[in-house]
Symmetry: C2
Subunit: 486 residues, 2 copies
């Protein structure tokens, strides 16, 4: 339905007062109380009596809040990251490696707007994701939200050119997205991902390509099989086995709870299953404890299960060269309902951090978004966890931001110096004095910014057609002919 949102703004203090009235049962909800209050005001039909002392308390509370707010108002939003030059250079270096890897796999980079229609964003995971989407205040008719993953926009872009694109389409993203989270450690509101999708192949080759890319991309950052591994599963195997044990109506709940298994205790797991009305706990525990495909092969699988096993088997064969990275793990379910077959997650070897990456096959999404039915598979690597692991393994790339030359101009040589600077800047990173500082302060600055060499340009040297150059690491000084600079 076409909806329109009206907005009402109130002070926090007043909202607290309203909450009290709601708690006392005078109003069923905050909204209703507000509506009634405004109505009373408009119609003049009496006013709610609030004791004067309470009013004063509220006023004081509000005054304190306002003071704090002014301090906070120019700060970086909580749960976001500023990339200063060094952090930026590190991220760019890591992203360049991931990008180069994706390109060798012949994936092509795309980018989409930061926001999408709310209808699109909420379609995949349902209305409840509204809590996690940063929605934009509506100005016109349109309702937008910031994207919370890169798969949804990629799917939209695919659908828009579905007819003319040669298939399969192999795309990747190196970009950021947003989720509303209450500020807490390690949960970012703005986060970066490397994400890749293949649209238009239902075959195990496509899944193998995706998993292979995920592994090689992580390897390109310096990580090896000693640092990370892939948990792989096929939802159909899990579904097939579960169907022999539980009722179909419990499937979604079971998947969701199995997905949480590694994050909760055995007791909590049992408890959650019980709460969902699933009693076959031992059988489920037995199923998800399987980590060996040979074990699975020995089971008598039903149709769905058999299909999943065949798919998994084909993928493992295709990934033979990468078998050191791969472990079958029937407890890997991926929480989201839209995965239809292969699912995988990548963890650091000690499983100390959250998943480095996750992905799988989602054959129904394009259809759900009103495209022509198209099979699809993909994955995403989160930058936050990846950089934590790289830091822990001392694999953060070393970046060097210092200029090649700092040019110190002595006396009246400004104009000629500019020619030399322009020439040098065709090839080198060159920093110059912008503050009319004396030589001592210029050298301090050159040192502070990590200049590799300082070039001295002065009238005496210019007459001889030379410049002096000091190497900042060795301290060695020498002179160079101006005509030979390049």
């Amino acid at each position: 339905m076409v909806m329109q949102t009206l907005q009402i703004r109130l002070t926090k203090g007043l909202i607290e007062e309203i909450s009290k009235l709601v708690t006392r049962g005078i109003y069923p909800s905050t909204s209703e109380c507000v509506r009634d209050a405004v109505r009373r005001l408009i119609t003049g039909t009496g006013k709610m009596e609030v004791p004067e002392k309470e009013v004063k308390e509220v006023q004081e509370k509000v005054a304190k809040e306002v003071e704090k707010e002014i301090k906070d108002q120019f700060q970086k939003p909580k749960g976001t990251v500023d990339f200063y030059p060094k952090e930026m250079a590190v991220r760019k270096t890591i992203f360049r490696k991931l990008m180069a890897c994706a390109e060798r796999y012949s994936f092509k980079q795309i980018e989409s707007p930061a926001f999408e229609s709310f209808a699109l964003l909420s379609k995949k995971e349902g209305e409840e994701i509204r809590q996690q989407i940063f929605t934009l205040e509506q100005k016109g008719k349109e309702s937008f939200g910031l994207r919370f993953d890169l798969t949804v926009p990629a799917a939209r872009m695919f659908i828009e050119k579905q007819k003319q694109l040669p298939k399969p389409v192999k795309w990747f993203y190196l970009s950021r997205m947003w989720r509303y989270e209450a500020p807490q450690r390690g949960r970012l509101r703005e986060f970066y991902q490397f994400s890749a999708e293949i649209f238009g192949s239902s075959k195990p080759e496509a899944d193998a390509e995706i998993i292979s890319l995920a592994i090689d991309a992580l390897k390109s950052t310096g990580l090896t099989e000693k640092e990370f591994f892939v948990k792989i599963n096929n939802r159909k195997i899990l579904e097939g086995l579960l169907l022999d044990v539980i009722d179909k109506s419990k499937m979604d709940d079971a998947m969701r709870i199995i997905d949480k298994r590694s994050k909760i205790t055995e007791e909590e797991f049992d408890e959650e299953l019980k709460k969902a009305g699933i009693k076959e706990i031992d059988k489920i525990n037995k199923i998800i404890s399987m980590k060996d495909i040979e074990e699975v092969k020995k089971l008598r699988l039903n149709g769905v299960g058999k299909e999943g096993l065949d798919e998994l088997n084909s993928i493992l064969k295709l990934l033979k060269n990468k078998k050191d990275f791969i472990r079958v793990d029937l407890s890997t379910a991926r929480g989201l309902a839209y995965y239809t077959g292969t699912v995988f997650e990548i963890y650091d070897i000690d499983e100390r951090y959250r998943a480095l990456a996750g992905g799988g096959r989602y054959d129904k999404m394009i259809e759900m978004f009103k495209g022509q039915p198209t099979p699809a598979t993909g994955f995403a690597v989160g930058y936050a966890t990846l950089s934590l692991l790289l830091e822990n393994k001392d694999l953060i790339p070393k970046v060097d931001l210092g200029p090649d030359y700092y040019i110190a101009i002595i006396g009246d040589a400004k104009e000629k110096a500019r020619e030399i600077i322009e020439k040098l800047r065709e090839k080198y990173k060159v920093e110059i004095d912008l503050s009319q500082r004396n030589l001592g302060n210029q050298l301090k600055y050159a040192n502070a910014i990590g200049a590799k060499k300082v070039m001295f340009i002065g009238p005496d040297e210019l007459k001889q057609g030379i410049v002096k150059v000091k190497d900042m690491a060795s301290g060695n000084e020498g002179s160079m002919k101006i005509e030979e600079l390049q």
Copy 2:
């Protein structure tokens, strides 16, 4: 004050009905009508009578709207751009050139979150910018908006580390931002800019560095003095001259209207000045028609004007090597109130498009954001206009997205082929079959994606230790020894 927004969602059809009631004078506003309606519902105090025929009409109208909405809801938001692989590669190529140029100037890249506190965003240009900011629906206490430029977040980042950073700080950005605009041609809601700032130098050297970078960055894309030029001015000259003519209280209005001069007719210009209560139109026209610094030098300038002229003069001297690009133009004012001295704009030579770039000195902003007072100067180049001009001048970089090799596997050679593919992918862009297609269809695909060579791997060739390679441009075929592949 701390405010909180409540949201109410209604169908468009109902909202139209409400509008009718408001038009009839039954309610003072839509909001009030909604509040009353909900209240009536809750309290059960009677209902508004609407004739049945009207209800049916509304229902039909709503049904039609819903159908249209479903079609629209999965579309790209209007006023935004999707970067498909080719457009992405073009933008990346252009951005790499701009980035390389900024790095040779020893500027360092930074990145900040997409959103900032609304208080920060609205501080610089006042509350009226709310109309143009995409604000986020408030979930917790914080009020956020999407950034509409890159200067404000850069200033915030500078302030946060102001004490420990060696000054001057030279930063650049290659990123995107957002402004709410009613959808129309050429006005994007999401747009990309190359932006650079220097914090911590009040000297003309810093302005010259900024203008020089802007020129060299554009040159790096292939543009020359035949394609673009810089209009430079100093607000102090303009202010000084205007102060001799108009009252100080009219200064902001005068600047704002002068800034619009090139976009409106002479009559409209005169009209706007008159409307603002400024009668000295001829004198103003004479001032802003000056395009020659020698002419300005001959004038008797007051203190402010003199200061501006000295600054302009110093900058022009420093930019002597770039004088072919530079024209003094006293009509260049830059609309925004925060510029304090040097201002400049860059246009294509025929002034066919909007400004390619704009910038200037803003010495009061850091202070305004509660940092230690710090002089600053900077500029931004918009990608949308730049790419229009590059297209017009046939300077859009040619990009080649085709893989180096397409690997066609014939018969039972899959496993051995994977070894070869992994080897090749260490160096080359390699595409493989992911769809179990027959050879004919594989070759069609290889052709469609622009593969440069096709490598055929089959059991017979493998026995001989060779692969066949076809060059797609020339059609030449040959064979290569597998051991020699690298």
